[in-house]
């Protein structure tokens, strides 16, 4: 990685998320599904938090609520002290909390440049030429200089995800919400994507909420790894990762890394077994 992968230049002053005793109940046709129950989590401004947990435990539900795509049933979420989600407010998506989805959500009919400039232009923050100039500069920073006129379908999955992260960051959000963005990638693409993401994180200091199944990915990227229980989900424990930044791949073999991993494997395995048994009960 280039020399710019150094310690954070500017720590964001805002972007602190406070999840307070959140419960989310889905009630389609009278069937109660408790997705989240008494879920609490503190995320400091500029902190990189990874959330791991068994499939269907409510990680994405929490992310969707933060993004403003869904309601909370009880509890509240605050962004920099201001209520973001409460049972009484209508969910409100906004460019201060942009999501990068697992399967990607680039507009297939827009070129890379049109995709990236979409946010600033639709909000009338920048006019088209200014947005394009900014987009080119940001794309160049992640090694995507010559693809502005390509359509997303012509790019590899690694490139698509990088474009998508840039499309989110160009809006200067307070929080970046990443929902398993690297899940479907092969190992090599994945580790390259990690380095690009860390470089962008170091450069921008944005708060990042990152959902994953991959424990090594969680430890390697995050300041804090939160383990979610099986449904109804809440945060079982949160482990601080004290590996120094900038991170590099050699840390994957360090004693500290392995210790953290052992701790997480234990916690996640327990939940996975519970989830499996719950699944069998539901089938029976």
């Amino acid at each position: 990685m280039s020399a710019s992968n150094t310690a954070p230049v500017c720590r964001a002053a805002d972007g602190a998320l406070s999840v307070r005793d959140v419960t989310k109940i889905y009630d389609p046709e009278g069937v109660h599904v408790v997705a989240l129950e008494h879920c609490s989590l503190e995320i400091a401004a500029g902190e990189f938090v990874a959330v791991v947990g068994p499939s269907g435990c409510g990680k994405s539900t929490l992310l969707n609520i933060m993004a403003g795509f869904d309601y909370v049933t009880h509890g509240e979420i605050l962004l920099d002290g201001a209520p973001l989600a409460t049972p009484d407010t209508r969910p409100r998506p906004g460019s201060d909390r942009v999501v990068v989805f697992q399967h990607g959500a680039l507009f297939p009919w827009k070129t890379v440049l049109e995709n990236v400039t979409y946010g600033p232009v639709v909000q009338k923050q920048l006019d088209q030429p200014a947005a394009e100039a900014k987009a080119r500069e940001m794309l160049a920073r992640v090694g995507l200089s010559n693809i502005e006129k390509s359509y997303p379908g012509q790019l590899s999955s690694g490139m698509q995800r990088r474009v998508e992260i840039i499309r989110a960051l160009i809006n200067d959000p307070k929080v970046l919400l990443l929902d398993e963005p690297f899940r479907a990638m092969d190992t090599v693409t994945k580790s390259a994507s990690h380095e690009y993401l860390l470089e962008l994180y170091n450069a921008t200091g944005k708060t990042i909420f990152f959902i994953t199944h991959d424990l090594e990915e969680a430890i390697f990227l995050a300041d804090k790894v939160a383990v979610m229980t099986t449904r109804p989900g809440h945060i079982k424990l949160a482990i601080s990762v004290d590996l120094p930044r900038p991170r590099n791949y050699r840390m994957l073999a360090s004693q500290e890394f392995l210790r953290l991993k052992a701790q997480l494997v234990e916690a996640v395995h327990e939940e996975a077994v519970k989830a499996f048994q719950a699944g069998e009960r539901e089938m029976a």
């Binding site: 993004a67 403003g68 795509f69 998506p93 906004g94 460019s95 909390r97 942009v98 999501v99 989805f101 399967h103 990607g104 959500a105 507009f107 297939p108 009919w109 827009k110 979409y118 946010g119 639709v122 909000q123 010559n146 693809i147 390509s150 359509y151 997303p152 379908g153 012509q154 790019l155 809006n171």
Partner: protein, 267 residues
């Protein structure tokens, strides 16, 4: 980064000529005509009513100088064009509206589903009674053929839009009308293209049948008149002409679809 470059015409022709499956295809077509020719020359008794390819070619050549033949092309094409275009103009907004607004769908969909299974040709009698001219009634039947297809495709297209696309646009600050025009509409274009492709085939089916029943002109009528006159080569020429017309129309629709979706090459 691999960007597909369009090969030049010469390159493409050379590639075709070097391709074994291309030559197999050529052999198959020649073989088809050879078998047809030989079997009509008394080898197979039941083929005696069918004209040989040579006779057909001869009839075709004569017809090329007959203004009535070209008037047939013109009339059938116009009927298809009017019916097809009207179907798109009414059907695309209807499908988008049904897909976008649940209340609108609840109000319109039941009636739509009631009428949809009625085959276009079953509309012929009522159409003749209702419309003041023959032309209008045939164009209307053609319209029916394309209309239900495009609505069903657009409705399905709106329904299958990835919700992440809409979520993203809303996150970036798009208003509901911006989501509709800049996300829902472009995301539905591939389904519109599929609907048009299927629809154009149906309109040709329908217009030929309608002409045989109710028309005075058109390729379908010419074919039918050749049959009534016992002029078998004329029947075959009519069939080939109809096939060509359908092929050309499909090509045009495909061309328009590709213009609409530079990000995607379909079919």
């Amino acid at each position: 980064m691999v960007v597909k470059r369009k090969a030049s015409l010469a390159e493409r022709i050379n590639k075709k000529l070097a391709n074994k499956s291309f030559w197999r295809g050529v052999t198959a077509v020649i073989g088809f005509f050879a078998v047809w020719q030989v079997s009509c020359m008394g080898v197979l008794p039941f083929m005696s009513a069918i004209p040989t390819p040579v006779e057909v070619a001869h009839a075709f050549w004569k017809l090329l100088f007959d203004p009535k033949y070209w008037a047939g092309w013109r009339d059938s094409s116009l009927r298809v064009f009017y019916g097809f275009v009207a179907a798109q103009i009414l059907g695309i907004p209807l499908g988008l509206g049904m897909g976008w607004n649940r209340n609108f769908k609840h109000l319109t969909f039941p009636v739509f589903e009631l009428l949809r299974p009625i085959p276009p040709l079953a509309w012929v009698p009522v159409s003749i009674l209702f419309w003041p001219t023959n032309e209008l009634s045939i164009a209307f039947i053609t319209f029916i053929g394309a209309f239900f297809t495009i609505v069903v495709n657009v409705l399905g297209g709106v329904g299958s839009i990835k919700k992440e696309l809409v979520y993203s646009a809303v996150s970036f600050g798009a208003s509901p009308s911006q989501v509709f025009w800049r996300v829902v509409l472009p995301a539905t274009i591939p389904s519109i293209a599929t609907g048009m492709m299927v629809g154009i085939g149906i309109t040709w089916n329908v217009v030929i049948a309608a002409e045989m029943i109710a028309g005075n002109t058109g390729l379908g009528r010419l074919t039918w008149e050749a049959y009534l006159a016992g002029y078998t080569p004329g029947i075959i020429v009519g069939m080939i002409s109809i096939g060509l017309a359908g092929y050309v129309s499909s090509g045009l629709v495909k061309w328009v679809s590709e213009l609409l979706m530079p990000w995607k090459r379909i079919f």
